[in-house]
């Protein structure tokens, strides 16, 4: 056996296959930019009144979630607190009170998390949020409409009945990532997660955002009934933002575990490298 044939036998052949369409890739990266800026500016807006309520109006004595600062008597020190229901946790330095350039700030989320960064700035936080809300909404609508017409969403993303029945057999739950042809399609857990984000989480965060608009309340009063009032809509909006962050963390972990360069390249160029001979772990 020559050296070359030996190496060929040891190194499996890689083949580039078409993975993501151009429009989906554009949608994906526009969404990345919009969601990052919406999250940062959303935290900035939250800081203007770092408390969440259920119902139509604010019951100031009973937020279900809040962040606040307590000053020492001389005012030089600050303690930050975060409350959830009746639980209260000291979160000095991160939530409620944090330092900025050596000075204590009475701020819900710290300045390094917000857009714009640094000191509290509701004015510009709103400008960023309301601009990128349009970017997010238009981008999302293009994705949904083209995905439904082109059947990408139904064919590739929505889980089938069979997918749901075999969901616990998905090898990805055991953190087993195929490098074979199976890696060029969405698997059961991924389909369920993506569908939840695309059809539930993102539309809910858009609609609860609209429900907080006193102008749109006049046009769509039923949205207030759907979400249980403006303050409930604000709470749900915040919860959805947290769920999106949770999704993104899992999504990025899966990218790292399944070959980050290959996956990021596929989302940029559309082509994914697979090893056709790789045996499937699928049942």
């Amino acid at each position: 056996m020559s050296a070359e044939t030996a190496r060929a036998a040891l190194t499996p052949m890689k083949v580039m296959v078409k993975r993501h369409g151009l429009l989906v890739r554009l949608n994906h990266w526009v969404n990345v930019i919009a969601l990052v800026l919406l999250l940062g500016s959303g935290l900035q807006i939250f800081n203007a009144h770092a408390a969440l309520y259920w119902g139509k109006a604010s019951n100031f004595d009973h937020p279900w979630f809040s962040m606040y600062a307590e000053r020492s008597k001389d005012g030089a020190q600050m303690k930050g607190f975060t409350t959830l229901g009746s639980a209260k946790v000291e979160t000095t330095g991160v939530f409620g009170a944090s330092k900025l350039d050596g000075k204590w700030q009475d701020q819900g989320f710290p300045g390094w998390m917000t857009v714009p960064g640094g000191e509290f700035d509701l004015t510009n936080g709103r400008h960023w949020h309301l601009f990128f809300a349009w970017v997010f909404a238009v981008n999302g609508l293009i994705y949904l409409v083209t995905g439904l017409i082109g059947r990408h969403l139904i064919r590739d993303v929505l889980p089938s009945g069979r997918d749901l029945k075999t969901i616990f057999k998905d090898p990805h739950l055991r953190l087993k990532f195929s490098k074979g042809p199976e890696s060029a399609r969405y698997h059961q857990v991924q389909k369920l997660a993506y569908s939840g984000v695309v059809f539930l989480l993102l539309p809910t965060i858009a609609l609860t955002g609209m429900t907080m608009s006193p102008g749109l309340n006049a046009a769509f009063p039923f949205l207030l009934d759907l979400f249980g009032g403006r303050q409930s809509a604000r709470s749900i909006h915040f919860i959805c933002a947290n769920l999106i962050v949770a999704f993104v963390i899992v999504h990025l972990l899966a990218v790292i575990l399944s070959g980050p360069l290959n996956q990021v390249r596929a989302m940029l160029t559309g082509k994914l490298a697979i090893i056709p001979s790789d045996e499937e772990a699928h049942s």
Binding site: A48, H49, V115, G118, T123, M212, G215, L216, L224, R265
Partner: protein, 249 residues
């Protein structure tokens, strides 16, 4: 240089630029000018969707907030205001002037005699909180009919008697909102005269917009063709600090 190193370099470069430039870019005037186009999109879209006449949601007596938070000025320090307050606003008159055929000066009794409206509505502060209250006041459209707007009048400016920071508070709305059924000059709140912290003797209610539009301590109403030349020129106290003039979201 192969594609992989090129890509890595690009990503690293973008990352560093974002980290270093975020704060500066986020508050740089050109960036903000671009972002502020969203206000025009929101105004255009909302006006098209909502229509002139759609009402802001109204609530029941049971929904009225026990604590209605007051924001902005809570106790004006202005001498003129305080002398009116001390005399129970007996010598106070609301001035209506600018681009009107018949300038007016109305006492509280005369305002109470105008066609009125009572509404239980939700007040949404730009900060995120909401309170529900019952407001009774003179229909703004009735007042404008009495003063007879000149055709060139495009905006209604509300000059307030309180100084916030270093300048007088003021607000403005266009004729679509000024003519709206729920736009009232409220003299009663929750069945009693509007308290000082909520804007005695008269505050605007323009229910399809945020709280900073609901001008308190109104002393004068002026009809104008343009908002340039009034205050900082942006149409309101907070607008001069960068807030959106159209506050429907």
């Amino acid at each position: 240089m192969n594609r992989r190193t090129w890509l890595r370099g690009l990503l690293a470069g973008v990352g560093a630029t974002i980290a270093a430039g975020c704060e500066k870019v986020a508050t740089a005037p050109p960036a903000l000018k671009m972002l502020k186009v969203a206000e025009k999109w929101n105004q255009g879209a909302q006006r098209a969707i909502i229509g002139r006449h759609a009402l802001a949601p109204e609530f029941t007596e049971a929904d009225i907030s026990r604590t209605f938070k007051a924001n902005g000025t809570r106790r004006p320090f202005d001498e003129e205001y305080n002398s009116h307050l001390n005399s129970g606003f007996s010598g106070w008159k609301l001035v209506v002037d600018g681009l009107v055929e018949t300038p007016l000066a109305l006492t509280l009794a005369e305002l109470r005699a105008l066609p009125s409206r009572t509404q239980i509505t939700r007040h949404d502060c730009v900060e995120g909180w909401s309170c529900i209250g019952k407001w009774k006041g003179a229909r703004l459209s009735a007042l404008l009919d009495q003063a007879r707007l000149k055709p060139e009048a495009k905006f209604i400016v509300f000059h307030c008697m309180d100084t916030l920071g270093s300048s007088k508070y003021y607000e403005s709305i266009d004729l679509v909102d000024a003519r709206h059924e729920q736009s009232i000059l409220a003299y009663d709140m929750n069945g009693a005269p509007v308290s000082v912290e909520h804007g005695a003797p008269l505050r605007l209610r323009v229910e399809r917009q945020l709280g900073y539009k609901q001008a308190k301590y109104i002393g004068r109403i002026e009809a104008v063709a343009s908002l340039k030349g009034i205050g900082g020129g942006a149409g309101g106290f907070w607008e001069d600090f960068g807030y959106e003039w159209y506050a429907g979201i």
